[in-house]
């Protein structure tokens, strides 16, 4: 049997809203993943170096305060440089300020390198079952 995939969680940049990332981490653990929970206010550089050192399979970022685009400036270039093009990237939460149309925001974050982008109030258990496991299997990581 293959070992459980390693998933990194945390809120990115200056955001300190801890509940989202705690819920995500808990759900991942319950689903049997190896979780590296970095907590709040994780810099893009920290996500990258931790992913290198732990040989992570995916990163699940959360952000609630609406400024994540600013926090993620240059993240995609840096992770490519660090040899992490194979790591699956998800982000979810209140990604921009105010009410917004997720359809409109999604392509902006896909351009930042994210494979999947989720609006507020997403069901994390459903995401793990339907998306994450599928993506991990597709990349031969599970």
């Amino acid at each position: 049997m293959k070992k459980a995939p390693t998933i990194i969680t945390g809120t990115v940049g200056m955001d300190a809203h801890v509940i989202g990332t705690k819920v995500v981490s808990r759900a991942l653990k319950d689903a049997g993943f190896n979780v590296v929970a970095l907590g709040i206010q994780v810099t893009p550089e920290e996500f990258i170096s931790v992913a290198q050192e732990t040989n992570a399979d995916a990163i699940l970022m959360t952000s609630l305060y609406g400024m994540s685009e600013l926090d993620l400036k240059g993240f995609n270039e840096k992770r490519m440089e660090a040899g992490l093009e194979d790591v699956i990237l998800y982000i979810g939460g209140n990604l921009v300020i105010g009410r917004y149309d997720p359809q409109e925001v999604e392509p902006r974050f896909k351009n930042l390198g994210f494979d999947r982008v989720y609006p507020p109030e997403t069901d994390i258990v459903a995401v793990i079952e339907s998306d994450l496991k599928k993506d991990l299997k597709a990349k031969g990581k599970m």
Binding site: V36, L38, Q41, S49, E53, T54
Partner: protein, 455 residues
């Protein structure tokens, strides 16, 4: 019959001996003679012991029980190689320094052929290989083990302290290899956790078993009991004992030991280093409770160029440049002017070494306002600073020198102590306290408390 214990330090320049009366908990004699490690270590040792014998009347019996530490023959020279610079490479570096080593090479990511040649040419006593959290990255450490397995005599001892899931494969790489390879716990088993104690233990074992033999230091064992650790490690043991106390004796609490030498300056801090302000966020790799740093570019005999650079923007005493040139040529400070210059250099050394050792605060401005991020240890609440090493002990201005370890209003981002008490290791016994702490911690503690001088 008095219970006398001899404690010895084989330094690169001097062999020092302290004779301690364990019953009375006092020093009965000290001796200092030039080291003879290059030819035969027992010659200098014999001479030092004769001096002690003349003064105390002790003999073979006590000598057979003597314990020693050593920084002779280059000290314990180590190369560290990890994966990500700020993670496993840094963890390996902290482990090596904590074991009293001198880190003579520091590498990250996959080693290249040229880097491996460099390491071979450096010919370190030990190569410490880390990389990957447990269950994490395997590629880098396996690659590096493979590279090291093809090297010659320049590399003999290798300690593996990385991702444990790679160990079977690494064992296979070193099968039928003549190198001495030792496997121990990962220095960074998971993100945010540092586990250097098992690695420290292996380094010390290796030092006692193989390295002192290779350097000719083990010959001393024909006269004394054993050489049990590198000297910086003995000083760190003393610092630990003084901070924590033992067996009903209350320690000094969090403290810093500053050891200024001719070639390097060591700073040891025994403190948890947690933020003094609750609104501060700690970032980066957690640093150990017992932390040692070595400033290889700060010494008062061999590294004057670097110190002169630090002096550039400062006011200097008259004739400064000429006098410092004199120190370069081996002159010792004697006149008033020379002493003033030497004192200034010592002050700068202490300031730079403590600033690099202490943690720092960065203020980050973001959409939610400003936020304080701490890297390293907050030492602002440390209440004890102990100075040792020739330039501090023998200076009339030792207090002035140690004052340069303090927090400065004009640079509030470096977390140096704000309001400590100062002591000096007047009798030069911290190494002896560290050695003695291994067998008689309580007596070692009392001895230190008796002979450290408050200034």
């Amino acid at each position: 019959m008095d219970d006398i214990r001899l404690l010895i330090d084989f330094g690169s320049t001097f062999t020092k001996v302290v004779a301690v009366d364990l019953g009375k908990e006092e020093i009965v004699a000290t001796a200092r003679v030039p080291s003879t490690v290059e030819s035969d270590i027992t010659v200098g040792l014999g001479e030092a012991l004769r001096k002690i014998e003349e003064n105390t009347g002790i003999g073979d019996l006590e000598e057979r029980e003597a314990l020693a530490c050593s920084s002779a023959a280059g000290g314990l020279r180590m190369v560290c190689a990890g994966f990500v610079p700020e993670l496993t490479s840094k963890a390996a570096n902290l482990a090596a320094l904590g074991a009293g080593a001198k880190v003579v090479g520091y590498y990250s990511y996959k080693l290249t052929r040229q880097e491996v040649q460099e390491i071979e040419a450096t010919s370190p006593d030990i190569v410490l290989l880390s990389g990957g959290t447990d269950g994490g990255d395997e590629k880098v450490i396996i690659h590096n083990a493979e590279m090291l397995s093809h090297t010659g005599k320049g590399i003999t001892n290798i300690i593996i302290a990385g991702n444990k899931t790679t160990y079977d494969e690494i064992r296979a790489i070193f099968r039928e290899n003549s190198k001495n390879v030792i496997y121990t716990n990962n220095v960074m088993p998971e993100i945010g956790t540092l586990d250097v104690a098992p690695c420290n233990h292996e380094i010390r074992e290796l030092f006692m078993k193989n390295i002192i033999e290779a350097k000719g230091i083990a010959r001393a064992k024909s006269i004394i009991k054993d050489v049990i650790m590198p000297t910086p490690s003995a000083v760190l043991e003393a610092a630990k004992l003084l901070a924590d106390g033992c067996d009903g004796e209350r320690g000094f609490g969090a403290l810093i030991v500053i050891d200024v030498g001719g070639a390097t300056t060591d700073v040891h801090s025994i403190a948890d280093g947690k933020p003094a302000r609750p609104d501060t966020i700690v970032a980066g790799l957690p640093e150990p409770y017992e932390k040692r740093t070595v400033e290889g570019d700060l010494g008062l005999k061999y590294n004057l160029d670097r110190l002169l650079e630090l002096c550039k923007d400062r006011e200097t005493p008259p004739g400064f440049d000429d006098i410092v040139r004199g120190f370069h040529d081996g002159k010792l400070p004697e006149t008033e002017e020379e002493l003033a210059c030497h004192r200034l250099l010592s002050c700068l050394t202490v300031e730079a070494a403590v600033s690099r050792h202490a943690g720092r605060i960065e203020v980050v401005y973001g959409p939610t306002g400003e936020r304080l991020v701490q890297y390293g240890k907050d030492l602002t609440n440390v209440k004890t600073i102990i100075g040792t090493g020739g330039p501090i002990i023998f200076s009339s201005g030792c207090r002035e020198i140690l004052n340069h370890a303090l927090y400065r209003e004009e640079n509030p981002f470096i977390l140096r102590p704000k309001d400590p008490e100062f002591y000096i290791d007047e009798k030069y016994i911290l190494y002896a306290v560290g050695l003695l702490s291994q067998i008689e911690p309580k007596k070692a503690f009392n001895l230190a408390r008796k002979y450290l001088k408050r200034i």
